[in-house]
Structure formats: C-alpha cells, structure tokens
C-alpha cells in the first residue's frame, strides 16, 4: 500500500516537471515583451527614453532559452519565483500571497459543498428513481450548469447585491473590519462569500448529481444490492453503505479534475465580485506579459490540482480494495 502511494507520488512528480516546463515555454511564445506593454499602458505619458530603462530594470535578457530554463529551474527549486513585472519590484510570492488564501477558501469551499451536496442529491434521486425530484432536478441543474460562471455571477450580483441589497457586491470582508479570528469577522467573510460561492456551487452541482445518479443506477441494478435487500437490511443502510459507497468511486476520481476546473472558473467569479483572489492577478499577468507572475500563478494552480489528485488517489485506495492490489 505504501509502495502504491509512493509510486503514484513518483508519477505526480513527473507530471509536475512537465507542467513546470510547459509553464516556462508557453508564456515565451507570446509576441512582445513586458517593458513594451507597460510603456504602452501609459499611452504617451511616459518619456520614450523610459523603454530602455524599463528593460534594464526588469532584467530582460537575450540569453539563450536553454540557459534561461536552467536558471528558472534552479530558482524554482530554491523557492525563488522572481520579481513580478506588473507589480515591480514586488516579489511574485508576495503578490500571489495577497489573494491565494482567499481563492483557496472560495474555490475549495465551493467545490467541497458542491461535491457533497451534488453527490447526496444524486444518491437520493437515484434511490427514488422516477419521483418528482428525479424528474425536475437533473434537467434544472443541467440548465443552470450550462451557464458560464461569470454570467450567473453577474446575474446574482445584479439581483441580490445591486437591486435587493441583501449581500455585499464586492470584496471578501468589510473595509472597516480588521481581519482577525473573531466571530464578527467570520460572519462578515461568510456574508461576503455567500454570493460568489453560491454561483460556483449552482453551476457545478448538476455535474456531480448526474454523475452520481448514473453510477448509482448501475450499482442499484447489481445482484449485490438485490441480495442486500433480500436480506432485509434497512433501506437507508442499503442506499448509503452498499450502493453509494460503490457508486462513489468515479465521482471521487473526477473530484481531482474538478479542482482544476473550479480554480479556472472561480477566477472569473472573483473578478465579477471584486474578490481579492488570483483571478485578477492572472488577468494582469497576461496583459502585462508578466512571465514571472504567470509562472507563479500557474505553478500554484498546477500544484494544487496535482496535490488534489494525489489525495484523491489515496481516498480511492481507501474506498476500493481493488485499487490496492
């Protein structure tokens, strides 16, 4: 079992290396350079001489790509992500640090809520197949799920924030509140997070529900379930302990994948709600051709997805003895 876990870890390390290398290559395929972009942003307000000065400051070199790549890997291993161009001269780690916690909180919480709720609903509608909930819920959620995140976010912002004024329209907490582990602050964070989290949950819920429902239906048709029923076990026990546990495996596997998708999608939600997360940083990084910041952000996202997948592997192993052998 330990050997299996380590083997998987080795596989993820290899995947991480590939991701890190792509991370280096892809931004450099874009035309232009960061100094030119920053210069352009000033639209003539910056003296033309500034261009060379900016290039010197950002340390833009014409060194061969291979040596740039070696430097990049060496810095990465020592945890040095470099200085951001868009937020020059702040280090990338500091820039990402302004919002990483909030993105993890928002995306992590919404994906967990969505997964738990969607799976439980999937179990229930499959158990009561043909009931009114089974007829109404999957199509409705599939309909909601077909909306882009940001569209639903804007609609929610307009209705519940702007028009009704029930929820704050921006930020992760009030401007006059000192962040601290107090009840008032936590309540404020929850109030601010409710709308963005709800839109992500609403969009992703349908996927979990239908995946779970499909796999439940297959498992419910199996002879093992028939046998369990014939033994006269309580329906709740059959539903949760026997059927749901077996049906959960595919969903658990896709949970790892979903972390990546939700991180990508929550970026847009964050921008709509002016949430201080990574979404806007990524936009800024691309706009300014800020290679170091892009690399830092992609690295954070990649590592989060890989870590989530590794944890999922371990969970799958615990759930399913077949994986272990």
């Amino acid at each position: 079992m330990i050997a299996y876990a380590l083997r998987r870890l080795g596989f993820y390390l290899l995947a991480a290396w590939v991701a890190v290398s792509l991370n280096f290559a892809i931004p450099r395929l874009m035309p232009g350079d960061p100094a030119a972009v920053i210069f352009g942003r000033f639209q003539g307000r910056l003296a033309p001489e500034a261009l060379d000065a900016l290039k010197a400051a950002f340390g833009l070199t014409d060194a061969p790509l291979l040596s740039q790549y070696v430097t990049y890997l060496r810095h990465l291993l020592s945890g040095d992500l470099g200085l951001s161009v868009a937020y020059f001269p702040s280090p990338v780690a500091e820039v990402i640090g302004t919002g990483l916690g909030w993105t993890v909180l928002l995306a992590g919480l919404s994906v967990c809520v969505s997964f738990t709720l969607g799976t439980l609903l999937g179990v229930y509608v499959a158990w009561r197949r043909g009931g009114w909930l089974d007829t109404a819920l999957p199509p409705l959620l599939a309909f909601l799920g077909s909306f882009p995140y940001f569209w639903l976010a804007m609609a929610a912002l307009w209705l519940f924030g702007f028009t009704l004024g029930w929820f704050p329209v921006r930020h992760a907490y009030g401007a006059d509140l000192e962040p601290a582990l107090t009840l008032a602050f936590i309540a404020d964070v929850l109030r601010h997070g409710a709308l963005p989290a709800a839109t992500i949950v609403l969009v992703t819920l349908g996927g979990w529900l239908s995946a779970m429902r499909t796999s439940m239906v297959t498992v419910l048709g199996s002879e093992a379930i028939l046998y369990a029923r014939a033994r006269g076990l309580a329906p709740r026990t059959v539903m949760l302990r026997y059927a749901a546990r077996n049906a959960l495996l595919p969903s658990v596997t896709s949970f790892g994948m979903a972390v990546g998708f939700v991180l990508g999608g929550s970026l847009l939600t964050e921008i709509v709600f002016a949430y201080p997360g990574q979404g806007y940083l990524l936009l800024q990084a691309v706009r300014n051709q800020d290679y170091p910041l892009m690399q830092g952000l992609f690295l954070a996202i990649t590592l989060a997805v890989l870590a989530a997948n590794w944890v999922v592997d371990l969970v799958a192993m615990a759930l399913d003895p077949r994986v272990r052998s």
Binding site: G32, A36, G40, G44, L51, W158, D176
Partner: protein, 565 residues
C-alpha cells in the same frame, strides 16, 4: 449597464426601498474626513511606495502625494506651479536651470528637506539608469548645491542647451537622502513605510482590499483639510462604477459609460463629471516610408475625407472634441494659432469633394470599380491597424474606414493584439494605424515625435515615437532653436512657425484629443475642479497634478448623513 438594465435596477431599488422601508445599503460609509478615491484598478493591494519607478507598481499617489516634485505642471492652465521649488531660472544661454528651494519644508519624520536631498535624488537616478525613466541624465551634466542669502538653490547644468529638459527635472519626485542612502538597491526597493514630503504620508491601514494614507504631520502647506485618503481595491471599471453610483467613492478617474444618465442623474446636486480634452492626441498614422503616403496630397486627402464630428460622436460617445488644424489638445491652448483653423491648408475639416480632387491630382483616379488606382494600376489599398479591445479606437476606426471607402480608398479595419500592434508601429511595419502621441509641457515635446528629423528611425528599428517616420527638414532649425529658447516670446515665435510647418506638411492625421476623465461627489467633500472652476485637472490619474486637487479639498461642515441613493 444597458439602458434597460439601469432603468430596471433603479425602479426596483426604489420600489423595494419603499416597500420594506429598510436601508438597501447595509454597508456603513467611511468616517468623516476620509476621502475615498478610485484610481488604480486592482483586486488586491501590493505594498509598494517607491516613487522612482514610473513603470513600476507603486501605489497611487506615491509620485505626487506621498512624495513631491520641484514644480507641478498644471495641464489645464498650461503652466508650472511652484512646489518644492519656489522659482526656477535659466542660466544664460540655457546652459542650466537654477531651482530655488522652498524654506522650511520638512519630511514626514521631522527632518528638514534640503538641497542635499534634491542633489542626492538626481545622483541616484544617475547611478541607477533604470530609475531614470524620464531620461533626465540624457541632458544633465551635473547637479550642484548653492547656499546663499536668498536660501538654498540647486543648479542643474546641461550637457548642451535643452530647454524642454525642464519637464523631466521638474517632475522628478524628491526622496529623502537619510532614508534612501541606506537602501542597497533602490530599483528593487518597495519602500513599505515611506518618509515623504507630501500631504499624505502615513500608512494608517494596509490590507489586501483597502489602504489608507493619513496626513503628513509636518506638511509645509499646513495640515491638509482631508484627514486621510482611502483606496478600496476595485479590479474593474464595472466594480468601480457600481461603487461610484452608490456614492461610496468621493473622487475617481474611471470612465463611466453614459455618465450623465447612470451617474450624474442619480444625484445631480452632488455628483459631477468633468472630462476636459487635455490628454494625448489620437492620430491616424500613415507610414510615410511607403507610397503613396509619402505624398502630402494623399495624407491631406485622407484627412479631409474623415468626418471627425462623427468619429467623436460614435467612437468617443461625444466625450471629446474633434482635433483642430494644428492638432493641439487643450493643454496647449495658450500656444495655439487659431488663424490656421479654416485656412486653405486646414486639413481637419470634413470635405470629401476636396479629398477626391486631391486624390485625382496626385495621380490616383477612380478605376471602373470605383476604387482609386495608381499609375501602374495597383489599387490604393491599406488596412488600418488598431488594438483589439480598445473599443473607442475600434469604433473610431470603423467610421474612418467607411469615410475612406467613400472616396475610393480600399481599406478595412484590422484589429491586432496589443503586443503585435505595438511591435508593428514601433518598427514602422504598417500602412495606416491609429495611435497615441507624446504629451509634454510644451508643444515642442508633442511635435518632436511627429516631424522632428532627429526622431526618425529606420524601418525595422524600434522607434519609441515617430512611428510614421516623418522628418521635416525645414523644421529642424526651429526644433534646434527651441532647445535654447528660454524667453516666452521666442518660444512663442518658434511654436508659431512649427504650427505652420505642421499644417503645411501634415506629417500625420490628427483625430481627437483624449479626454482626461474625472468624477466627483460633493456629498462629503468640496473643492473639486470643474468646468466653472478649472484650477487643475480633475482626474486623479494625472500625477503629480493631482497634488493641486488633494491639497484643496475639504470636508463639508455637516457630518455626512446617510443619503439614500
């Protein structure tokens, strides 16, 4: 916000407020005396108050608020306002300039600001060229300190006479020697706890979503009436507009679509907008290294074919004015030779018949398909390059393309990603392109990049300015003479001559000046510049000019009561 959306939102808000009788906005406003400003668009603040990196990520208003320059250029009046220096005088022959420092100025830590600080700041720029974004050391020879009966003076000697170099020297933010001396690398220094001479230097709050700058206890102009500046983080214009509409922002530089209806109409008594056209002038650049744009008749014909009133109406929502004959924005209004508007060579009027005549004369008659063809039968065909996503320019370009097709020029709009567009224009690899132009204190800085032969680079080399690569040999002596002209009358004579050259040679096709956007709410503060009281630009983006505004604002006497939006 669409027209329908806005109306619906407004209606629903009112209905609900009436129905419930409850306050729709549960958020409490900031304490009285705290001015809420929206300038930079960010989702989270990064702590950086290093004023010396203009392209860097220093927080607003580091360069003109925390730190201060020697002089502040007022672009509405077109003149310098004495600031840390009380006066400046040119040495004979424009060999240098002498700044007389204001007496009694102190840094926010109580230490006196002396001429040594000024000299040190300039030495710092010399040591670290990356900081010298204004390029002052291209002209500077050395900086000396003089102490005399009339106070402390800083003498800046130039390598060769160059009067326009004043702008860069005047606007360099002055930093304290006793702090920056100890900094190992001023380029990568983020200066988290600034010691400045400006009105707002004390970082009271710094969180990812909001930061506040309290007033400088030792400010030379007396304590500012505003107690603190608060900058909430708004990542997009939409987010900022939302806050603006609810009256949560007192002063902003954000563009608001349909501003009269969506913003001002919500509280006409307090909400206001002022967008004087003093920004950079937008041009349609013809590449003069390529035929037929090397022919002034073709450039003039293109210019005459453009309906600028329509461009401004469609492209800029009517928020600016069409360019004048000499292409001056209002910042150069006092220099403008108005007699050239409507003169025979005035190319900014809309006159498609004259354009057609000129094209015929230049040897590009219409072919059987209506398209104009040259002597060898090739059609007059050129795409117009614009940056995709810069929607005001894209709309303007569409109008222009239609205008040009009407006179038989085969043209389409070509939208390019910013980087691709910028590389093309800099290298001179385009036919027609919409682009900005240089801003500076005098028309010299502006015209230099349009037709001074000194700024012409070869095609393929990166040119920071003069993308259309036009040099007017007859103007070269005028540009040269301006570098030595310290007398206003002499400057005026040269600028007059340059204006005539511009109109005659028409190096590029002027479209419209960019408006400088500013919005304000007088619910909590008064003293904003307006069209009736144009003492400076309203836009807080204009640094260091915003100093003129932030030191003049004061809270309204009554405590800010909650006014329903």
């Amino acid at each position: 916000m669409t027209r329908l959306g806005g109306a619906l939102a407004h209606g629903l808000t009112l209905t609900l407020a009436l129905m419930s009788g409850a306050c729709v906005r549960p958020e409490e406003g900031p304490p009285p005396g705290v001015l809420v400003v929206s300038v930079e668009k960010q989702s989270a603040w990064v702590r950086n108050f290093n004023p010396l990196m203009p392209g860097g990520g220093a927080r607003w208003p580091t360069a003109g608020g925390v730190y201060e320059p020697l002089l502040v250029f007022n672009s509405v009046r077109g003149e310098y306002v004495p600031w840390l220096a009380t006066r400046y005088d040119w040495l004979p022959g424009a060999e240098g300039v002498v700044f007389t420092l204001r007496a009694g100025v102190r840094w926010s830590d109580g230490a006196p600001l002396t001429a040594d600080d000024v000299a040190f700041t300039f030495e710092l720029l010399k040591r670290s060229p990356a900081l010298d974004a204004g390029g002052v050391w291209r002209y500077l020879e050395r900086v000396d300190v003089e102490r005399g009966p009339e106070g402390e003076r800083v003498v800046m000697r130039l390598k060769t006479p160059h009067v326009p170099a004043l702008h860069g020297m005047a606007h360099t933010p002055i930093v304290p020697r006793h702090v920056f001396e100890a900094v190992a690398d001023p380029v990568t220094f983020t200066n988290p706890d600034p010691v400045g001479s400006g009105p707002f230097t004390q970082v009271r709050v710094f969180r990812n979503q909001v930061f506040e700058l309290g007033r400088n206890p030792h400010y030379w102009g007396g304590p500012p009436a505003v107690e603190a500046l608060r900058m909430p983080a708004y990542p997009t214009n939409d987010a900022a507009s939302l806050a603006l509409i609810f009256g949560e922002v007192d002063w902003a530089g954000d563009f608001v679509p349909a501003v009269e209806r969506t913003f001002v109409a919500r509280d006409p008594e307090h909400f206001g907008v002022w967008a004087p056209p003093v920004g950079s002038l937008v041009f349609l650049y013809p590449n003069t290294t390529r035929a037929p744009f090397d022919d002034v008749r073709i450039r003039r014909a293109i210019s005459l074919a453009i309906d600028r009133a329509r461009v401004v109406e469609v492209g800029m929502y009517g928020y600016t004015t069409p360019a004048n004959a000499v292409a001056f924005s209002e910042r150069y209004a006092r220099w403008q030779d108005k007699s050239l508007d409507g003169s025979p060579e005035d190319a900014v009027r809309f006159d498609p018949e004259a354009a057609e005549r000129l094209l015929d004369e230049a040897g590009w008659p219409r072919g059987p398909d209506g398209l104009r063809r040259g002597p060898d039968g090739t059609p007059l065909s050129a795409p117009i390059d614009v940056v995709s996503g810069w929607s005001d320019w894209v709309r303007s370009g569409q109008v222009i393309a239609r205008n040009l097709r009407a006179v038989g020029v085969d043209t389409q709009l070509r939208t390019l990603d910013f980087s691709a567009w910028f590389e093309r224009v800099q290298k001179g690899e385009f036919d027609l392109a919409i682009g900005w132009s240089d801003e500076g204190a005098t028309p010299y800085d502006f015209y230099c990049g349009l037709f001074n032969p000194e700024t012409v680079k070869l095609v393929g080399a990166l040119a920071p300015t003069n993308w259309h690569r036009f040099g007017d040999a007859e103007s070269a002596p005028l540009f040269d003479a301006f570098k030595r002209a310290t007398e206003p009358a002499e400057q005026r004579r040269l600028v007059d001559a340059l204006q005539r050259r511009f109109v005659h040679a028409l190096p590029a096709i002027p479209l419209f000046p960019n408006p400088s956007w500013g919005t304000y709410s007088t619910r909590r503060f008064t003293g904003f510049p307006t069209a009736d009281d144009p003492y400076a630009r309203l836009s807080p983006f204009a640094q260091p000019e915003a100093l003129l505004v932030m030191t003049r604002l004061r809270p309204v006497d009554a405590p800010a009561g909650e006014v329903a939006p």
